[in-house]
């Protein structure tokens, strides 16, 4: 793997990153770069599509927030050939979601160059807005300094989003070009790594000087992953315990108002039109009465648990755990926790890991003739 270091002045990662992105954008082959940037005069960070190298001054891919999973944006950009190449700067979970979308035929990989940065995690969207206030730029630099020096990441009582604390994929393995922070002396350097042939071609044109990966990096990454995995497994156990009967599941979703924001925010909820917003669920008024009559009471709106279970059947094998569903919930239901817990089971069942590779087939899009004998039959007769 081609590896280089680029110099950082006084630990100012943002300036270094902006310069690096500018050098990518100036390459003849690259027409635009998609990168998170502060919107003028606000503390909001949004993906921006930049063609003018002078328009990269607000670039802030280290801000601890991502208001949406940008895989959805990349999917929009690559739906059809555009005849130009775009570099896209994404978080690892955004890259993994994009990989899923490509396999779902909702995006194309050919015209994008994936640039991934070691992920320091993010706050929930609402929390970030409150913490960052008006002085967002300084907040990003104090955040990454704390994150990289291993300090506890709580600000004014806010903690990182549970999705990020449970994320065992802080390294953008699927990127063409990786920008490494962990185990790197970030006061002075950043790591640049070409991880694919596409990345290598770009790497060659960038005129970087080769070095070795710092020897301490693997251990730093490993301990971070171990910490995240421990948090994740505890979250799985607690969530499973909180939902292991229909009664408990009802309680879990008691505050759900069927707004369906979780599926709007979900990068891998792939249906173009969700069946739950179609006329299929616009029941005949008298139907409600019939349902109510049967038990004497029904909760309105109806179909809440039905919706969530169906959503799990659709998206769980592609869930990358980005946590945007939780961000989108108006009533703070810990939906990420549940969707991830279920996804862990369904992905394991098919020996699949969402976003790991463009080569692995989506579990529900293929089958083998000789498989899953154990799901057929009614248990007590061998041949039934």
């Amino acid at each position: 793997m081609k590896t280089a270091k680029i110099n950082v002045n006084d630990g100012d990662l943002l300036t270094t990153l902006r310069d690096f992105f500018r050098s990518i954008l100036q390459l003849e082959d690259i027409s635009a770069i998609l990168v998170p940037q502060h919107l003028p005069a606000t503390n909001v960070v949004m993906p921006t599509l930049v063609t003018d190298p002078e328009q990269l001054n607000g670039t802030d891919p280290l801000a601890p927030v991502f208001p949406l999973n940008a895989a959805k944006i990349v999917s929009r950009l690559t739906r059809k050939p555009m005849g130009a190449k775009v570099a896209v700067v994404l978080r690892p979970c955004e890259i993994r979601a994009f990989v899923e979308l490509v396999k779902l035929k909702q995006g194309r990989i050919e015209e994008v160059l994936l640039v991934g940065i070691d992920c320091l995690g993010a706050f929930k969207n609402g929390d970030y807005i409150q913490i960052a206030g008006k002085k967002e730029a300084e907040f990003t630099s104090s955040f990454y300094k704390d994150a990289l020096s291993g300090k506890k990441l709580t600000f004014e009582g806010f903690d990182l989003a549970p999705a990020c604390k449970a994320c065992e994929n802080p390294i953008p393995d699927g990127a063409d070009i990786l920008i490494g922070l962990f185990g790197v002396d970030t006061n002075n350097q950043l790591l640049i790594q070409a991880r694919t042939p596409k990345g290598e071609t770009l790497y060659e044109t960038l005129d970087l000087s080769d070095t070795e990966e710092p020897p301490e990096r693997p251990a730093v990454v490993e301990s971070l992953v171990a910490e995240r995995t421990a948090y994740r497994d505890k979250m799985f156990a607690e969530t499973a315990e909180a939902t292991n009967s229909l009664e408990k599941l009802n309680i879990y979703f008691a505050e759900c108002v069927n707004c369906y924001n979780c599926r709007v925010a979900c990068p891998v909820c792939y249906c173009k039109e969700c069946v739950f917003v179609t006329d299929v669920f616009n029941h005949d008024p008298v139907q409600y009465l019939r349902w109510a009559n049967r038990k004497g009471v029904i909760k309105m709106p109806t179909d809440t648990v039905f919706y969530h279970l169906t959503r799990m059947a659709h998206m769980s094998t592609s869930c990358v755990g980005c946590g945007q569903c939780t961000n989108a919930c108006p009533n703070d239901i810990p939906v990420m926790e549940l969707f991830r817990t279920v996804s862990y089971h369904t992905q394991n069942a098919f020996e699949y890991e969402a976003g790991r590779s463009i080569e692995d087939d989506l579990p529900l899009s293929v089958f083998r003739e000789d498989e899953l004998a154990e799901v057929v039959g009614i248990g007590n007769h061998c041949n039934l």
Binding site: S245, L246, V305, V342, F350, V375, N380
Partner: protein, 140 residues
């Protein structure tokens, strides 16, 4: 519990299991009236949400049954169904739906006897298992 009569919703494919049920009928093989047959063209068209809906509405069990591997009239609908059932068998038990409440079988058009036996055994199993929790709970 002694009087508990389970309701089983069976999605049966037109070409095989439905024909088997028909055969069981014409051959006057009795099978419990607990099963409600829903004829579908192929097990490959049984959307996971049909199964979820049936269980949330209080069905005590769901049976999906179609042609044997190689016999599906749409070539591979039954293989696709098998993956979907596998998926549901991973999801639903996490919320307390016993795995036994969802079954997939292959029953060919000439297997009237096997159809009757399958229904007998399933009813017996579900009687031991007891009613689906969804029947009593207000599902929200």
């Amino acid at each position: 519990m002694a009087n508990f009569e389970p309701t089983i919703i069976a999605f049966v494919c037109n070409w095989c299991t439905y024909t088997a049920a028909d055969l069981a009928g014409t051959a006057r093989l009795g099978y419990p009236a607990n099963v409600r047959l829903i004829r579908v063209m192929c097990t490959g068209m049984v959307d996971p949400k049909y199964v979820i809906k049936a269980l949330l509405e209080g069905a005590d069990a769901v049976l999906v049954s179609g042609c044997h591997p190689g016999d599906c009239h749409y070539i591979n609908g039954n293989f696709k169904a098998r993956r979907r059932i596998k998926l549901l068998k991973e999801i639903l038990p996490q919320f307390g739906f016993g795995e036994e409440r969802l079954r997939l079988t292959w029953i060919g058009a000439s297997d009237g006897i096997q159809f009757a036996e399958t229904i007998h055994s399933m009813v017996a199993q579900i009687k031991t298992l007891g009613p689906n929790e969804a029947k009593a709970t207000m599902v929200i």
